[in-house]
């Protein structure tokens, strides 16, 4: 352990002050942002109410395109939810230090995105009051859900993911809640005290905490892959051309990490500025996360090439026509934007100067998410619009109600995130302090190593 010197104590106190300053009195800009997002969220629920009372005819869904914008939103938001656990759990296991700058925001993002995602299957149901048919409950009619259906797998996978993500988020925050308890006076301090579950920071507590956190990280990591794999199988286990393809599971997982990373960048760049967290979320950290964006973009591009290339390879006319339709048919403008945003623009991340430009990263994060939303839209609607039988072909145009619900879902997501930024510590205070101590110790060890000692960290 690093000895407690006056410098260390001052540095620790400063980290706590800087991070907990965000929990202070909000300014008018923040309140205006909350108000705007709340209005958009209200629009979402109003339009959903309209769909319930007037029926799904208000949406643009038709025969044959029965899955459309609402399911696109579900896949998009589940995808956004992925990077939270990835950044937090996987980077923890790989001992990537830049994780501490993003993990709390990313974990919060996971939970809010899952909450928003969970709304869409319910909205899509139409008769939302029978949602419990999805759950395997003992019924006097002995009716069970079809366990061979990936839609039921979805219910289990997303619910499990939400529970584990919530536990992971909460457990990771306990030491920081104890800091807030110590620092904040009055009722707020007492609320944080209750939430911190009596954390005292004893060696015994840290030992248990470390083991639990490692276990949760190891448990959550395969869960990340499994959830979006199952979402991909909603499509892939069908025999619809363009959906029935083996690469869908890794493709969806990589796409989810790609869009989630872009969303983390989009959220943390303004948050860092508004909450004055520049010393803790540095440009180096953004450069590291930009490399993840580039890596996942390359996987996505590889998948586009393989899917489209192999549709021409095997001589299957349905597959070939489906992929040609995506690229050259009714959805060609969307397809072009998708390729530009997901494959071409991220290549700029090969240039170091652009990786370190926060303005470009912010714009790119937004563009990537536009591209990824369009990708899901094109996959879902184009395959249904052009199935096997030309007699059953059709097309899809979204309605104003669906568009409003989509915009409203972003409002709800940002509202939840804004509330989080003012109510909970946005950075992992104890981990930042711990990281600083480790770096200090390593600097000491390096000095010793230069004098002849050798060790593996």
């Amino acid at each position: 352990m690093r000895p407690e010197t006056l410098d260390n104590i001052n540095a620790s106190a400063r980290v706590e002050e800087d991070v907990l300053a965000a929990l202070g009195r909000p300014g008018w800009r923040y309140l205006a942002g909350v108000g705007l997002c709340a209005l958009l969220a209200l629009m979402l629920f109003t339009l959903w109410g309209g769909l319930i009372f007037r029926g799904l005819g208000l949406s643009g869904k038709n025969h044959p395109v029965g899955w459309a914008m609402l399911i696109t939103n579900f896949v998009f938001w589940v995808g956004i939810a992925h990077s939270g656990t990835l950044i937090s759990a996987v980077l923890f296991l790989f001992r990537a230090r830049f994780r501490t700058s993003f993990n709390r925001s990313a974990e919060a993002m996971t939970i809010f995105a899952l909450m928003v995602a969970g709304l869409f299957p319910l909205i899509h149901l139409g008769r939302v009051w029978v949602f419990y048919y999805l759950l395997p409950y003992p019924s006097e009619r002995l009716i069970w859900p079809n366990f061979r259906s990936p839609l039921v797998w979805d219910v289990f996978a997303v619910t499990t993911y939400l529970i584990v993500s919530l536990v992971f988020f909460y457990v990771g925050m306990i030491p920081d809640l104890a800091v807030a308890r110590r620092r904040l006076p009055g009722v707020r301090g007492r609320i944080y005290g209750l939430l911190s579950l009596g954390w005292q920071g004893t060696l015994r507590q840290w030992r248990h905490y470390g083991r639990l956190y490692l276990f949760l990280a190891a448990f959550a990591t395969p869960l990340v892959a499994s959830v979006h794999s199952i979402v991909s199988w909603d499509f892939a286990v069908s025999i619809v051309p363009g959906w029935h393809t083996t690469i869908f599971a890794p493709y969806f997982v990589a796409g989810a990490i790609f869009s989630g990373t872009a969303m983390v960048i989009t959220l943390t760049i303004p948050m860092r500025r508004w909450l004055r967290l520049e010393p803790y979320i540095t440009v180096d950290h953004f450069e590291a996360i930009a490399k993840i964006l580039l890596f996942t973009s390359l996987i996505i591009t590889y998948t586009y090439l393989v899917e489209h290339g192999l549709s021409l390879y095997g001589g299957n006319p349905f597959e070939r026509d489906q992929y040609l339709y995506r690229a050259l048919g009714d959805y060609r403008p969307l397809f072009a934007v998708m390729v530009i945003c997901n494959s071409l623009l991220p290549l700029t991340m090969f240039i170091r100067r652009l990786r370190r430009s926060l303005a470009w990263l912010f714009i790119l994060g937004i563009l990537v998410n536009i591209g990824m939303w369009l990708e899901r839209f094109v996959i879902i609607t184009a395959s249904l619009a052009r199935d096997y039988d030309p007699y059953a072909w059709g097309s899809y145009n979204f309605s104003v109600v669906e568009f409003g619900i989509t915009i409203g879902s972003f409002g709800l997501f940002f509202l939840l995130f804004l509330l989080f930024a003012r109510l909970l510590p946005v950075l992992a205070v104890t981990e930042i302090k711990q990281g600083a101590e480790e770096r200090h110790e390593e600097a000491g060890m390096q000095g010793a190593s230069e004098r002849g000692s050798e060790a593996y960290p």
């Binding site: 690469i247 998948t303 050798e454 593996y456």
Partner: protein
């Protein structure tokens, strides 16, 4: 083979002799059973390219566990230029491919040969350039690692789509390419797992204080890759099995009925054995466990390649054993001669040795 260390010219001579022996083995015997050479070539391409890819990935990510084994893993680099030569030996076997009778714009003999030769040669060239910089710890190695990895992914994808998948033309699995390059990386990691034991015993005098921690990290990675491999295998299998389309599921059904034992063996060897054996922290740090698990993974990968190829191109098992033994001997020779064969002699070697003993710090 202890004590044998060849110069570059000597190694080239041995490679030429090995190519002649392989040509004789493959083309001197009966026409039936020529799939053995394809199995051997696919398997050793994945090991040779995969072990270099492991170093490239660790250099790119700044991981330090591979530092003690960098030179051993890069010992496969002198073998990479040999692969295009071996691929040429495949030329007379191209009538094994069903598309040979009715060529298409993509699948026709001249283009098949040209693109694969070009990619194998380019990957070998990129590996040479990368290895030189990696051993010297040149900061520019990161760029060369990226270039090598891009070529590696493309090359392994073509190994999957061209060499193996097109044997069952028009059967298609879009995951096949990704599955192969992940498997090659898995093979490279398994090789590293074995080297901790084999190489550690041969270097008792060297500073190996850093090895237990590096071994634990390698064990962790092998454990993680076993889960990744299991996930990819299942994702591919499920979609085909569940879809139950005759033109797709036939690929699985034929192999399940032809060799159910092999079908059970390779998932056990590549997933169940490493997953169960490496669950405990102590096992991850044990050189013997790591070596045994790595051997299981490599055997599983060989069995899987055999299963993919055997029904479409019959395999002579004697030939398969002889060819794999020859390639193993070549790799061991490259390992023994690595100080003389690898780029970066003199200053580079010094840097390499320093890396092995001190860089893990």
């Amino acid at each position: 083979m202890s004590g044998v260390s060849l110069s570059r010219s000597g190694f080239l001579l041995v490679l030429a002799l090995a190519a002649a022996a392989l040509a004789l083995l493959e083309h001197g015997g009966p026409a039936a059973g020529r799939g053995a050479f394809l199995v051997t070539l696919v398997f050793w391409t994945s090991i040779a390219q995969g072990s270099v890819a492991v170093v490239a990935v660790t250099d790119l990510t700044g991981a330090r566990w591979s530092a003690p084994l960098r030179r051993e893993l890069l010992a496969a680099v002198p073998l990479l230029p040999f692969l295009p030569l071996l691929f040429l030996l495949l030329w007379p076997l191209s009538d094994l491919y069903p598309w040979a009778a009715a060529p298409t714009a993509w699948l026709n003999r001249p283009f098949f040969l040209a693109r694969n030769l070009a990619l194998l040669a380019a990957t070998a060239g990129a590996a040479q350039l990368f290895a030189r910089r990696s051993l010297r710890r040149d900061p520019a190695r990161v760029r060369f690692a990226i270039a090598y990895l891009l070529l590696y992914v493309t090359c392994q994808s073509l190994v999957a789509f061209d060499w193996v998948m097109s044997l069952s033309y028009p059967w298609v699995s879009t995951m096949f390419g990704a599955y192969f390059f992940v498997e090659a990386l898995y093979a490279g990691l398994a090789l590293a797992g074995m080297l901790f034991l084999l190489s550690g015993r041969r270097r008792p005098g060297e500073a190996t204080a850093a090895w237990p921690a590096a071994r634990r990290d390698a064990g962790l990675l092998l454990f993680g890759f076993s889960i990744l491999w299991g996930g990819l295998f299942f994702a591919q299998f499920l979609v085909i099995w569940y879809g139950n389309l005759p033109e797709e599921v036939r690929f699985i059904a034929v192999r399940l009925s032809a060799s159910p034992e092999l079908c059970a063996f390779f998932p056990a060897a590549c997933f169940a054995v490493p997953f169960l054996a490496l669950l405990s922290a102590r096992a991850k740090g044990s050189a013997a466990v790591l070596c045994a698990v790595s051997l299981s993974v490599l055997l599983g990968l060989l069995a899987e390649k055999l299963l993919f190829i055997h029904p479409a191109a019959p395999v002579r098992f004697g030939g398969l054993l002889a060819e794999n033994a020859l390639l193993l001997a070549l790799w061991l020779l490259a390992m023994r001669s690595r100080e003389r064969l690898l780029p970066g002699d003199g200053e580079g070697n010094a840097a390499g040795r320093e890396g092995r003993s001190g860089e893990g710090c």
